[in-house]
């Protein structure tokens, strides 16, 4: 299973973290520090797998962002590379030519998309279209809810 997902920029700034195994807050920051150090120091032509603390970390660099996923020793690394690519393609489709700024300002949306993609550390949806459909349906619901909340009648109802 995938233990955690980590997105780190080239300068070492964290853009997204998702943990599928129990880690305390202190452990999390320690792990992030260590792993960023290891991965950011690797050269461009090296292979995408790193052994770390008995686990394997698969990472891929897209522009200035490193997408890292930590897996068990028996998992198939090429499969996880596919999963990372899958995620990036979905993000691209959703944001339309996604860039790092999109992820910075809409980090919660990146989370929601990741939640549709992975559950309990396993891949649950391998079709990009389905994921896109679900996310847009949820977005519509959010929009509807917000509109209702912003409507005048609602505000009046609140104050009285």
């Amino acid at each position: 299973m995938i233990h955690f997902v980590l997105l780190v920029s080239r300068q070492g700034k964290v853009r997204l973290t998702k943990w599928y195994s129990p880690y305390t807050q202190k452990e999390r920051s320690k792990v992030i520090r260590e792993l960023s150090g290891v991965i950011l120091n690797r050269g461009p032509k090296l292979c995408n797998f790193v052994e770390w603390r008995g686990y394997k970390v698969v990472y891929k660099r897209y522009a200035s962002l490193y997408f890292c996923m930590c897996i068990d020793a028996e998992d198939n690394e090429l499969e996880v590379l596919e999963i990372i690519h899958h995620y990036v393609e979905i993000l691209d489709r959703y944001f339309g030519s996604v860039c790092e700024l999109d992820l910075i300002f809409h980090f919660h949306k990146a989370y929601y998309i990741l939640d549709e993609l992975l559950i309990a550390g396993e891949l649950q949806e391998s079709s990009k279209k389905t994921v896109a459909r679900i996310i847009s349906a949820q977005d519509q619901m959010v929009e509807a809810a917000k509109e209702e909340a912003g409507s005048i009648s609602y505000i009046i109802a609140q104050t009285t």
């Binding site: 233990h3 964290v14 997204l16 973290t17 599928y20 195994s21 129990p22 880690y23 305390t24 807050q25 452990e27 999390r28 920051s29 792990v31 992030i32 050269g43 032509k45 090296l46 292979c47 995408n48 797998f49 790193v50 052994e51 603390r53 008995g54 686990y55 028996e74 198939n76 690394e77 090429l78 499969e79 590379l81 596919e82 910075i104 300002f105 980090f107 919660h108 989370y111 929601y112 939640d115 559950i119 309990a120 396993e122 891949l123 649950q124 949806e125 391998s126 079709s127 389905t130 679900i134 349906a137 949820q138 619901m141 959010v142 509807a144 809810a145 917000k146 909340a149 609140q158 104050t159």
Partner: protein
């Protein structure tokens, strides 16, 4: 109303990027604001505040556990976007110790039963992350319902959650398993992949329980074209095949088909891995797999190269021919840029080592070591050392070459493996008589080099070198130069305990030289002046070199220095006398002879079982309290005044006193503990009797020291070479020297990672697998055959539990017994404790801490 003036998440992020105050102060300001806002009653304000907080927690590592209750409030809102924010906060921050965890059950239940599938999915997602035992127990009926839901999206998520539920609350299996199995037959590929994923995890925990489902899996394996599903299935089959060998035969066919047909490299790799690890008996499959590995190895993509090497290393133990076929690729990979690739190549190369090519391979590796970075260099060194020393150096035929290799290793600039080399030098010296001259030569070369003294990683090697030179000084070509090397002023750089070893070696060399001088005097009539000059020179050099150390700070160094100087003081007089050396009563002569006797006693390796081989003679009571020993042996234990050495008043010859006392102690039955500690000992023994050795202490009748070498018939079995073997003679090869091996199947000192004993997870998996078994029984009620199978499985299961517990106990006993058997062999005991500690380190379950 205050919602209008509240800063939204976007404002926060923008503010963070543009701020000039400094990260931590900005974050603390924002936190204060959030704390105020989150207490508002208005849900929108609350949710925005929570949103901002979860951003800070996720990206900047701020602790948000204090907001747990607020998160709950937000989740209870009916608006979808609040719910979303709330659930995200919960998933991120809740853990097993969150106090409000009880309150969330109801909310989750409500959401799980909701009509809106997205709310359901939110709740499921949350459950999958924070699920505890109670939550799992309470919500398993809902999950069960959802497993049969009409919306496939929901079903798929529910399947994913099921794994977590099973993990935390095994009884849920009875309820949910049937639906899970039904889902195996679904046509929807998404659900199928989810179900297969769940089974994959279950199979890794306990393969036997999933075995009855093998036919369904097989059908999917043959039919499906979806790569994700196939990869998971292959993993399942590799676990199942290791339990049930007949399965392997059936499965090999379709796997080969897939390997040939597919384009996806990930699938190919998975097939290869499955074949190589679990189906390694099927020749055709293995051949195909190796061919595919070869394709991987020649690719440019470093990923594929690494994976190819990895697969090859899995195959290596059983199929060495595959590795040998790809030898050039492996050697080329040694010089690759990527450290992972290099390491894998190194391990593979080590697997290929045999008697014939060990020198060739070591040569290649030493060249690489010189060229590479420190980390890889040390990896090479340690792997060469461990492979060569495996099973008491069984792979080495030419020890002279190996010893000079050890010396070479010491000269590699980045070498940091001093202790291992030290151990091996001394070990070889003790076990292999024939290698001693070469050993002394190599040590001498190491000792005279002043550059090595500065490198602290090499100090252990230098200590071994000096010990070896002192112990086997009879093989040295030029003791004078040796002594010069040992007392050179640059040895100040050494730590005190190594200097002490140096001084002691000087002592041994001195004794040897004096002895040969005196015996030469006795045999020949006159003394030639050159010999006299040289011995006087030697003594002077030593005196000058050691004199400053007699005031050293370290007690060990000081004591040894004083011993040497005292001895010299006494010997000098007799050398100076030059005359009447026919008089055998000359003190120095006798003393020297005595000392040489002491040093000529050979130190050798001692078997771990040596004590047990010695049987307790009749009439010797080992278990009685030794309190009345003093009456019996009192007269022996007074300080020594008489006896052979009459010069106690002249020299502080502590060594000789110690020697005599040792002999006397050995002649009295055992060493004596004082009265009280022996009674404590008896008490302790009563309480923990089963951990004590049955027979203890060595036979007092044998000469003082324990057996150095085992009796002749044991030694004969160790001799590896049949001298009458015609082939050997024809090759004119130097016959392999005798290596004294005392333990059968000696443990390798450098332990590679041992298999983790999943003892702690046994009991959990037990209950899980038992439940799965019973669920399967219920499933296939009609079919009697399966019932019997299930029953036998259950019975097997119970047998297994009792079997698993028994070896656990005996393992614990064995461990304790080993600790009690600490023998007097210096190196053995030291290394054994190291081995024990290193193995204990490995056995800790690998939590990511």
């Amino acid at each position: 109303m205050d919602n209008l003036f509240q800063r939204s998440l976007e404002d926060l992020i923008k503010g963070f990027r543009l701020q000039l105050l400094g990260d931590s102060s900005f974050i603390s300001r924002a936190l204060e604001e959030i704390r105020r806002e989150i207490k508002a009653t208005d849900l929108s304000t609350k949710s925005t505040a929570l949103h901002k907080l979860s951003y800070l927690a996720a990206i900047h590592g701020v602790d948000m556990s204090w907001a747990a209750f607020h998160a709950l409030e937000v989740v209870s809102s009916s608006r979808f976007h609040h719910k979303r924010i709330g659930y995200q906060a919960i998933t991120q921050s809740f853990h097993d110790q969150t106090s409000v965890l009880l309150l969330i059950t109801n909310q989750l239940r409500k959401d799980l039963n909701s009509v809106n599938e997205y709310e359901v999915s939110l709740a499921l997602e949350c459950l999958s992350r924070i699920g505890t035992r109670d939550l799992a127990r309470d919500l398993s009926p809902e999950v069960f319902t959802l497993l049969g839901s009409s919306k496939s999206f929901v079903r798929k998520k529910a399947t994913g959650v099921v794994l977590r539920v099973f993990d935390k609350y095994p009884d849920a299996v009875k309820v949910c398993f049937k639906r899970l199995v039904e889902n195996l037959e679904t046509s929807d590929p998404q659900i199928l992949s989810a179900v297969v994923g769940v089974f994959c995890e279950l199979a890794s925990k306990d393969p036997t329980s999933c075995l009855p489902l093998a036919p369904e899996f097989f059908k999917i394996l043959v039919d499906s074209r979806n790569n994700w599903v196939l990869i998971k299935l292959l993993k399942i089959f590799s676990k199942l095949a290791s339990v049930e060998p007949r399965l392997g035969r059936k499965v090999a066919e379709p796997i080969c088909e897939h390997m040939k047909r597919t384009v996806a490299k990930s699938l190919v790799f998975e097939c290869v891995r499955t074949v190589v690890s679990s189906l390694s008996d099927h020749e055709a499959a293995v051949k195909l797999a190796v061919a595919k590995i070869r394709e991987f190895l020649v690719e440019d993509d470093p990923n594929l190269k690494y994976l190819g090497l990895h697969a090859l290393s899995i195959a290596a133990p059983k199929h060495l021919w595959a590795v040998l076929e790809n030898k050039e690729a492996v050697v080329k990979a040694l010089s690759d840029e990527d450290p992972n690739v290099k390491l894998e190549a190194l391990h593979l190369l080590m697997a290929m080592v045999t008697e014939d090519n060990v020198s060739e391979i070591s040569r290649i590796l030493m060249n690489y070591a010189l060229k590479s970075d420190p980390l890889f260099c040390n990896e090479i060194i340690i792997s060469v050392l461990s492979v060569c020393s495996r099973n008491a150096y069984e792979i080495i035929v030419d020890f002279d070459w190996y010893v000079s290799l050890l010396g070479e290793m010491a000269r590699i600039p980045h070498c940091q493996r001093g202790e291992e080399i030290e151990h091996q030098l001394i070990d070889i010296g003790m076990r292999v008589r024939d290698a001693r001259p070469q050993l002394v030569r190599v040590s001498w070369a190491l000792l005279i080099d002043p550059a090595l003294l500065g490198n602290m990683f090499l100090h252990p090697i230098l200590s071994a070198a000096s010990w070896v030179s002192g112990e086997y000084v009879e093989f040295a070509k030029n003791p004078y130069e040796l002594v010069e090397a040992l007392v050179q002023p640059r040895t100040d750089l050494l730590p005190p305990y190594i200097r002490a070893i140096y001084i002691h070696s000087v002592f041994k060399v001195l004794v040897f030289c004096l002895r040969s001088y005196f015996s030469a005097q006795e045999s020949s009539s006159g003394s030639s002046s050159t010999v006299y000059e040289s011995i006087l020179n030697l003594v002077n050099v030593i005196e000058i070199g050691v004199w400053p150390l007699s005031g050293a700070y370290d007690v060990e160094v000081q004591e040894r220095a004083k011993n040497v100087l005292g001895f010299i003081g006494m010997a000098k007089q007799d050398i100076a006398k030059k005359v009447n050396l026919q008089d055998n009563e000359a003190e120095a002569c006798r003393v020297t002879a005595f000392m040489e006797d002491a040093f000529s006693e050979e130190l050798g390796p001692i078997s771990a079982n040596a004590r047990e081989k010695v049987c307790v003679p009749d009439g010797l009571e080992l278990e009685e309290n030794l309190g009345d020993l003093e009456e019996i042996c009192g007269k022996f234990l007074k300080p020594v005044e008489s006896d052979s050495v009459s010069c106690t008043d002249k020299i502080t010859f502590s060594v000789s006193n110690l020697r005599i006392r040792d002999q006397q102690e050995a002649s009295s039955s055992t060493s004596l503990p004082p009265k009280e500690s022996s009674s404590l000992l008896a008490e302790h023994r009563k309480r923990h009797g089963m951990y004590y050795l049955t027979s203890e202490k060595n036979d007092p009748d044998s000469n003082g020291t324990p057996n150095d070498y085992p009796p002749a018939n044991d030694l004969a079995s160790e001799i590896l070479l049949d001298p009458l073997d015609p082939k050997r003679k024809a090759k004119h090869r130097k016959s392999r020297p005798v290596v004294v091996k005392l333990d059968e199947g000696g443990e390798s000192r450098i332990t590679t990672s041992q298999a983790k004993t999943k003892q702690e997870s046994v009991t959990d998996d037990e209950s899980l697998s038992r439940d799965i078994q019973s669920a399967l029984l219920v499933n296939k009620k009609g079919k009697e055959r399966e019932k019997c199978e299930g029953n036998s499985n259950l019975v097997v299961q119970e047998e297994e539990t009792s079997r698993i517990e028994k070896p656990q106990n005996s393992e614990k006993k064995k461990k304790k017994k080993k600790n009690g058997e600490r023998t007097s062999g210096k190196h053995r005991s030291r290394r054994r404790s190291e081995v024990a500690s290193s193995s204990e380190q490995v056995e800790i379950p690998d939590l990511l801490l």
